[in-house]
Amino acid sequence: MTTIDSARLASMFGAIADAMSADRDRLCALDGVIGDADHGIAMDLGFSAARDAVAALDTGSTDPTTLLNAAAKSFLNAVGASSGPLYATAFMRGAAAVKGKATLDDADAVAMFQAMARGIQDRGKAEPGEKTMMDAWAPAAQAAGEALASGKGLAGSLEAAAHAAKAGAEATKAMIASKGRASRLGERSLGHMDPGAASAVTVIEAMRDALTV
């Protein structure tokens, strides 16, 4: 059983930010095919801002909720793309899910993770199958919940989430977008992976690695 404190969450943002700058060009290229080619920039900018914002906090005296809200706000104001409000809402909902806790146990962490997925859904109103990041986040959240219920612990749960996200992202190739910029392409969006689903995999893998080492 892992115990996650604010310092661990801060280092998680550092890990996601690193992963995003490494993934930036691939994400821009994916977005270039069915969107406006800026998704890598947006994610890189957003998570760098979130990392810097939480790094500036005294993690000793900051609870997870406050930290996650600070990350949400800085992400939001750094990014003008769709991913800004989507991830900002994700972290705000994650923050709300762990309200009052000083540290997170496995169940808290999975609850936070599932709240993030719900936040994205509330903000973007996309259902799975519409070729968005929800196609990675929804199965990931569900897989994490099922794994935890079957006693797999946080590491196993996030591993299951990452696995489901990857499959979900892969599945977007066969979808016609009906949300987001790509929805204006109609059938022309077929055959290409959704950039937001692709970056979700990167985010989730980085969370898995950072929260379960």
């Binding site: 406006d36 080619a37 800026d38 920039i41 947006a42 939001l76 104001n77 750094a78 990014v79 003008g80 793309a81 769709s82 800004g84 409000p85 989507l86 900002a88 809402t89 903000r123 973007g124 519409e130 977008a177 009906s178 949300k179 987001g180 910029r181 929805s183 204006r184 392409l185 109609g186 022309r188």
Partner: protein, 328 residues
């Protein structure tokens, strides 16, 4: 990429600095280039705020001033402004009667404005979606907001100046949006400074029919047709979509995308006007020029807004902004 610039990172802020310096009699720049606002506010008036990605100049900053917007938030090129910009603008220009955000229908813009609206009190929004190029029915994201946004901003701006309250202003804006249809065609691509190369490739004798104002794909790629043939198809799309409403007085707005000169815009206006009038539309108001642009893209859009006595009067009402000015 051939542009007048010093560095990709400072294109926006340098351009805004120049814009504000050139119009310092009516405009003030917010801290950190977060927004552009009117120098003189009118206490008790509903504050109108718009914003969106940059690269569409003079939209929206060029429409800030008496009779139109109170503030505009410029995002990075083709990227939504962020909620902190919108909130800062709202704080700066709300004199107590509330704020109305005017937002073009792009998910990034809509979600960012929505978050700003959730974070502040007394804020309403209008989402414009006048582009008939992309069908509403097939895709749930809905139509894009394009050049017709100018018409909404002008008419709602005049009504706000006239003293309308938040709720009726929002209703008026939605009415104008519903009476407005647009469609565009591109002859060349635009080039986003940060990208450094054209957004799309297009052949020497091709056009992108139904293009979006960010160079998004339209209905189809086609060979370049005559002005009359292009106008015929755009007008048919607009008329077909308006259906029975396409009768009587209207504003015809021919908008350049940035790289097309006035001579061609007036020629397109001439073609479009003839077509609309043949179909029972009476063009009572006109606007021709590059007002809702896509950086340096060559091309144009045609917008038709069906007018009534009230909206005509608000269109005619005095306006004093950097890009639209009459009556004062």
């Amino acid at each position: 990429m051939k542009k007048f610039m010093n560095s990709v990172d400072t294109v926006l802020t340098e351009s805004l600095d120049g814009f504000i310096a050139a119009h310092a009699d009516i405009l003030v720049l917010g801290d950190e280039h977060k927004f552009v606002r009117r120098r003189a506010l009118r206490p008790g008036k509903v504050a109108l705020i718009s914003g969106g990605g940059s690269g569409h100049e003079p939209l929206h900053g060029g429409f800030v001033g008496h009779g139109m917007l109170d503030a505009a938030c410029p995002g990075q090129v083709f990227t939504s402004p962020t909620p902190d910009q919108m909130l800062a603008a709202a704080v700066a220009v709300d004199t107590g009667a509330g704020c109305l955000f005017i937002v073009k229908n792009y998910e990034g813009d809509v979600m960012n404005f929505e978050m700003a609206a959730e974070m502040s009190e007394g804020v309403q929004q209008i989402v414009t979606n006048d582009d008939v190029a992309v069908e509403n029915s097939s895709y749930t994201t809905g139509r894009r907001g394009v050049a017709g946004t100018l018409v909404v901003e002008k008419i709602v701006g005049a009504a706000a100046e006239h003293g309308l309250a938040l709720a009726p202003l929002k209703a008026l804006g939605e009415r104008v949006n519903t009476a407005t249809r647009s469609m565009g065609v591109a002859l060349t691509s635009c080039t986003v400074p940060a990208a450094g190369k054209p957004t799309f490739d297009i052949g020497d004798s091709e056009m992108e029919f139904g293009v979006g104002i960010h160079g998004e794909p339209g209905r189809r790629r086609d060979t370049l047709k005559s002005a009359d043939a292009i106008a015929e198809e755009i007008c048919a799309a607009i008329l077909g979509d308006l259906g029975d409403r396409a009768k009587g007085p209207a504003l015809l707005f021919v908008n350049g995308f940035g790289g097309t000169p006035l001579m061609e815009l007036y020629l397109m206006y001439n073609s479009a006007r003839r077509i609309f009038e043949k179909h029972g539309v009476t063009v009572t108001r006109s606007l021709v020029g590059s007002y809702v642009t896509s950086l340096d893209m060559a091309g144009c859009s045609i917008t038709l807004t069906m007018l009534d006595a009230e909206t005509t009067a608000f269109w005619d009402a005095p306006v004093h902004t950097a890009a639209l000015r009459w009556g004062m």
